[in-house]
Symmetry: C2
Subunit: 99 residues, 2 copies
DNA sequence: CAAATACGTAACCTACTGGTTACATATCTA
DNA sequence: TAGATATGTAACCAGTAGGTTACGTATTTG
């Protein structure tokens, strides 16, 4: 889970993920809109891959990157736990306001 | 948002947050179950505070730490965006399976 | 008031991050 | 097959993170 949140902590990586929701892409294509070099993007992709957020599939000399759902699950579940806490707090507040 | 995900990337900080769902606590109390020193916890709290995840209120010589909802919202919203993407994918898959 | 308590801050050290440049590798293409 | 293309890996570098020790400070308490 460290790896997931840590991966999401970088704005470039979040933007990469967001752009991947429009469909799989290649490293070159992903690097284009950023000022970053292809190598920098390659490193980011390695981080994202290690966190289980993307997968790379080599086809010939090109590479295809796509989103993976595996990594997100735990992170979302953790935040859910926190949200349930707030919900309980809000419920308790509403309860008190009624009396 | 960088600050939020970055703050959540550390297991000690996540554990601090989880323990705060049982109610507000003091730095000394939070440090106890960890091997970490009070100073280390103090630094973690500063990070959590900067990310808008906790608030500290000084009362006399003691301090009270409590969860804040502010920071989590954006992070949860971002993950929601990702989840909507998966949902669309799953829907599309279901659609195709029906035909 | 003096000692103890509950912190916070500063300085320092090591390890990791993100970026760059340089180089290696594999595969199309002319 | 030579050259261009698409990408990965290695080495290095500055900046940041998390931990520790040392010290400062505001309250209690005896």
């Amino acid at each position: 889970m460290d790896a997931v949140f840590s991966a999401l902590a970088d704005p470039t990586r979040r933007e990469i993920l967001r752009r991947l929701t429009d469909g799989r892409s290649r490293p070159t294509g992903l690097a284009a809109p950023f000022d970053a070099s292809l190598q920098a993007i390659s490193k980011h992709l390695r981080v994202l891959e290690a966190a289980g957020l993307v997968a790379r599939k080599r086809e010939g000399r090109t590479n295809h990157v796509e989103l993976k759902t595996a990594g997100f699950g735990e992170a979302a579940k953790w935040l859910d736990m926190m949200e349930r806490f707030w919900q309980r707090k809000l419920d308790a507040l509403a309860e008190r306001l009624e009396h």
